[in-house]
C-alpha cells in the first residue's frame, strides 16, 4: 500500500488511545494518535519520562491492546486478530527490542538469536545466523549464556533476535537506555546498519535527542499525543 507521497506504507495507526484506571484515577497514556511509517524508514520517537512512549511502543508491537483505535502493519489490523494469530504475526513480522534486553537467561546466545524461528518450527540456516552474528560482533560468543555478556552485548543479542526473522518492522524501546555511551553508539550503528542493509523499518523510542537526530524522521510524544519533528511543529 502506497501512502500520500507514493512510498510503501508499512505501519499505520488510527486514533490510537490507551486509558489506564477509572474515574478519578484515569490516566490517558496515549491519546488519539494517528501516524504512518513507510517501508525502510528509521523513525525515532522522543519524549520525556511518562509521556507514553513505552505504551505506544507496546501497542505498536502487538503486546498491549489499545483501548481504542487500530494498528495496521502491512495493512493488517493486528488487534483484529485472535491472540494466537497475533502471537504468530508478532514473531514473524515484528521485532521487539527492550531497554532491559529480556533475553531468556537459560538459553545460549545462539539459541536466543534463533528463538523466534524455532518457535515457528523452523531452523534458520547456519549462514544466516553466522552473518547476523558477525554483524552483531558476537560470532565468538554464540555459546555463552546472557549473564556472561556485557550489557552492550546482551542488547546486541536482543537486536539480533529481533532481526532473525527479517521482520517487517523493528521496534526498539530505549535500546541504549541502560548502556554507556560507547555501547549505546555501537547499538545505534547496528540499527542503522540493519536499516541500511536489510531495508529494515526501524522505530526507536529514546529520550536521547542526539541519537534521535540520526533517524530519518523524529516523532515527539507529549502527554500521550504525537507530533512530527522534535518540537512539535505539527501533527504527524
Amino acid at each position: 500500500m502506497k501512502n500520500y507521497y507514493g512510498q510503501t506504507e508499512i505501519l499505520r495507526t488510527e486514533h490510537l488511545l490507551k486509558r489506564y484506571g477509572k474515574e478519578a484515577n484515569e490516566i490517558i497514556a496515549v491519546n488519539d494518535v494517528s501516524f504512518s511509517v513507510s517501508k525502510g524508514e528509521f523513525v525515532a520517537v522522543v519524549g520525556s519520562s511518562g509521556s507514553g512512549k513505552s505504551t505506544l511502543m507496546h501497542m505498536l508491537g502487538g503486546v498491549d491492546r489499545p483501548t481504542f483505535g487500530k494498528v495496521l502493519i502491512e495493512g493488517n489490523d493486528i488487534y483484529g486478530m485472535s491472540d494466537d494469530k497475533l502471537a504468530i504475526f508478532r514473531r514473524r513480522q515484528v521485532g521487539l527490542v527492550y531497554q532491559f534486553y529480556n533475553l531468556i537467561p537459560v538459553l545460549t546466545v545462539e539459541e536466543n538469536l534463533t528463538l523466534p524461528c524455532e518457535l515457528d518450527g523452523r531452523t534458520p540456516k547456519k549462514e544466516v545466523v553466522r552473518e547476523l552474528a558477525e554483524m552483531l560482533g558476537l560470532e565468538k560468543r554464540l555459546g555463552a549464556l546472557p549473564n556472561e555478556l556485557s550489557g552492550g552485548q546482551q542488547q546486541r543479542v536482543a537486536i539480533g533476535r529481533a532481526l532473525i526473522t527479517r521482520p517487517a518492522i523493528l521496534l526498539a524501546d530505549e535500546p541504549t537506555g541502560n548502556l554507556d555511551t560507547r555501547s549505546g553508539n555501537e547499538i545505534m550503528e547496528l540499527m542503522k546498519e540493519s536499516n541500511r542493509r536489510y531495508k529494515q523499518t526501524v522505530i526507536m523510542i529514546t529520550h536521547n535527542l542526539e541519537l534521535a537526530k540520526q533517524a530519518d524522521r523524529v516523532l515527539t510524544i507529549e502527554d500521550g499525543r504525537v507530533f512530527d519533528g522534535q518540537t512539535g511543529e505539527g501533527r504527524a
Partner: protein
Amino acid sequence: MNVLKRCCYRSMRENRKRTSVTIIGIVLATALITGVACMAVSFRASLILYEKLENGDYHYGFMGVAPENLKYFENNEQIERFGVVEELGYAVLEGSHNPDKPYVFVCGIDEMSQETLSLQLVQGRMPENDRELVIGRHIRSNGLVDLKVGDELTLSMGNRISEGHRLTQESPYLYEEETLETDFERTFTVVGIIERPIRDVEPFTAPGYSVFTRMGDPAEAGILNVYATYTDSGLKQREQVTAGILGVSEELYRRYYGFHGGLGTYTEQEEEQIRHIAWKVTENYWVLKWELMIFSSGAMNMLYGMSVIAVSIIIVTSVFCIHNSFVISLTEKMKLYGRLASVGTTAGQQRRIVYYEAAFLGGIGIPLGILSGIGATAVLVRAVGGLVEDALGFSLVFAMSFPAIALSVVLSSITVFFSSFQSARKAARISPISAIRANDTVRIRRRELRCPKAIGRVFGIGGRIAYKNLRRARVKYRTTVVSIVVSVAVFIGMSTFVELIFDINGVYNNDSMPYQMQVYLYDYESAVRIASLDGVQEAEIVRPGILMVDGGETPFTKEYEEKHKPEATETIQIRALGEEAYARFCKKVGVTVEEARDKAIVIADYVVQYKIDGVTYVDECKIAEFHKGDVIIGAGADEGLEVEVLTQTSEKPMYLSNGRYNKIVLVVSNEWYDSQNISKFDNVEIYIKCEDSDALETAIRNDIQLGDCTVTNYDAVYRANRSMYLVVAIFLYGFITVVALIGITNIFNTITTNMELRAPEFAMLRSVGMTGKEFRRMIWLEGMFYGGKALIIAIPLGVVISYCFHMAMSKGVVLDFCFPFEAILTALAAVSALLFSIMHYSMGKVNRKNIIETIQNENI
C-alpha cells in the same frame, strides 16, 4: 528437543532445589499410592494364603467320583491340577476320650493331595505306601490318645451305617443309632503327625479323626473325592467348567446348587443327572472369594473402601501440594513466559511447556515413587508381619501385582496432571505485557494494605511490611497455611485416634490386670490339677452358688434403698475360692481361716459405671451393712439355710478385682460350700496369675488327664489387641508422616521461593538502610503471622476431629474425652521448628547475596 523444551529443561536445572523438592513431592505421593495399592494386594495375597492353609488349596471339591470318571479331570485344559482322596472307611479309635469322636477316618491320598488339602506336617514324613499313616495332632490333644510316630496301628475299617444308610464325616456321631460295619483290616505304621486337616475333610462335628495313607492305583480305588484347582481362564468361567465336568448344563448346575439366586428346585431326573459324575460339589468359598474378589463381603469391602479413602486423601493432598509447586514454578517463570510471549509463543506453546515440565518431573518422580513405595511396603510388611499374625491370626506376606502397579502409575500421573493443569491454563493466559511488567503476580488493592496501627507500634516498620506482605501475597501464603492446617489437624485427630484405641484396649486389659488366664470347666478335681501346674503363681478356683434371702431382712443402706429400690427377695451370691485362695483372702481381710471356716465374709459394694452423652458417671455405694454375728437366713436347694457373718470387707478376691459388682457376695470356705445345700452351679472358674501364660495354656491344652475346658488367655487376647492397634497405629502414623512430609516439601517450596522472588525487594530495603536485626525481625514476624494463623485454624479443627473420633469409638466403652494437649504441643513445636529452619535457610540465602547485584540481576 525443541527450543521451548530446552528452555524448560534448563530452567528446571537452574532451579535444582525447587525441581528436586517437587520431584520429592511426586515421589512421596506416588510412593504413598503405590504403598496403599501394594498393601491391599499383600493383604489379599496373605488372606488367600491363609484361607488355603485353613480350607485347602483348591477351588472346587467333587465328592464321590468313580475312578473311571477321573478322565474328566485329567484331560481338562481348565484344570491346573487336582488331588484325589479315597475314603477307605472308619475304624474304632481305641482309647478316645472324646465321646463324639470314637473313630478314625482313614483316607488314601495321592501325591498332589498334600498340597491341595494343605496337610501340614508337624513331625515325621508323609506316607509313601498304603501301610503308612499320618495322623492328626488332635488325636492326642482332643481325643487324648497317645499315638506317636513309629507306633503300629491295626485298624478294622468299614462304614458307619444308620437305618441302612452310609454315613459320612458330615454326620455327627449318632449315639446308639449307628453301627460300624467293618470290611477289612490293615496294620499301619504311623510315620508322621499333621495339623488338624481342613474343615472340608474333617468338619468340627465329624465323628472320626482323619488319618491319611498313600492311595494305590486310582483306577482300582473305590469312591474318590477330587479337589481341583482351576486355571485362570477356567476360573473366569468356573461355573461352566464345573457344569462341564458334571456333564450338565450350566443352568442346571446353578439351579441345583442354588447359586446366583437359583431356586434350588429340580426334578428327580435332573438330580440323578447332576449326581452322576459326583454326588456333591463343594466350592472353596473363601479362597474363591479372595482370588476372584467377586463375592460381596464386609471385610473385603472395608479393605478396598479404606484403600479408596486413603488413596483419595493422598491424591487430594498431593494434588494440592504438587499443584503448589507448579504454581510456584509458574510465578518464578512469569518473566520467562512473558519474554517468550513477546517473541511470539502462542498460548498452546506456553501451555505445553508446563505440561512438558509436569511430564519431565513425573517421568523421574513416578518411577522413583513406585520403587520406593514397593520397597517401603516390603519393609513394612516384614516389620509388622509378626504383629499382624498376633492380631489377625495370619501372617502377612508381601505381594505386588502388575495391575496394582499400573493403577498406581495411572493415579500418580493423574495427580501430576491435575497438579499442573491449572498452572498450564494460567501459563497460556500470560500476556507479554503483564509478564514484562510483572504486575500479575502481585495484584494489590488499597484496602489490603491497611495495617493495624498496633502492629506498627509493637513491631516497627519491619512488622508493618511483614503484615502487608502477608496481605498482599495471600494466595501464596494460603497454600502454606492450608498445608500446615491439613497436617496439624490430621495429626491431632490421628494421635487421639491412636490414643483412644490404646485406651479402649486398656479398659478391657491392662498391665495391672490381676489375672492372666481364666479357665472354665466342670469339675473341681481338674481345677485343682490346673492350679497345681508349673508356672501357676496364684490360682483362685471359684465355685458359684446363690442364696435367696428376704429383702426385708437384709440390712440395706439408706442410699442403696433410695437409689435402687431392692426387691422383696434378694439374691446373694456365694463363692468358694478354693483352699489356697481362701486362705490368702482371709489374710487380706485380716481374719484367720479357722475363725472363718463356718462363717461368711461379706462383700456388699455397688460400683457401676455408665455413660450418658459422652459423660461418664460412676454409681458407687454400699449395698448393705452387715455386722459380725449377723445371721443370714435364706433358701438354696433347701429352705432355711443359715450362715453367720464373720465380717464385712471392701477387699476383693482376685476374680472381682477387675470387674464391676452390684450384688452382695458371701465368700465362704470349701467345707461350708460343700456341706451346704445352697443352689450351686455346675461350672468352676479358675482365675490364674502367672508369668508365662502361653506356656501354661499349652500345658493345659496338652494335659490329656483334663476334661473339657475353655481357656481364655487374657495375655494373648491383650497381645492380639495391642498388636492389632499397633499395626493400625503404625499404618496411621506412617500415613500421617508421609502426608506431613508432602506438606513440608510444599511449605519449604513456597517459603524459599517467595523469599527468592522477593530478594530484590529485600535488597532494596537493606539498601535504604534496614539493619540486619530489623530484617530478621521482619522475616520472623512473617513466619509467626502465618504459622500463627495456620495453628489458630488447625488446633480447633484437630480437636473437633479428635472429638468425632472419640464419639465414634467410645460407643459401648466408658471413656472420658481426653483433650489432646500432647498432640497440640507436639504440633506447635513441630510447626515452630519447621518454620524456624525454613526461614533460617532462606534468610541465609538472601543474606549471602550482594545488595546491588541482586537489584541488578532483576534486569537480566
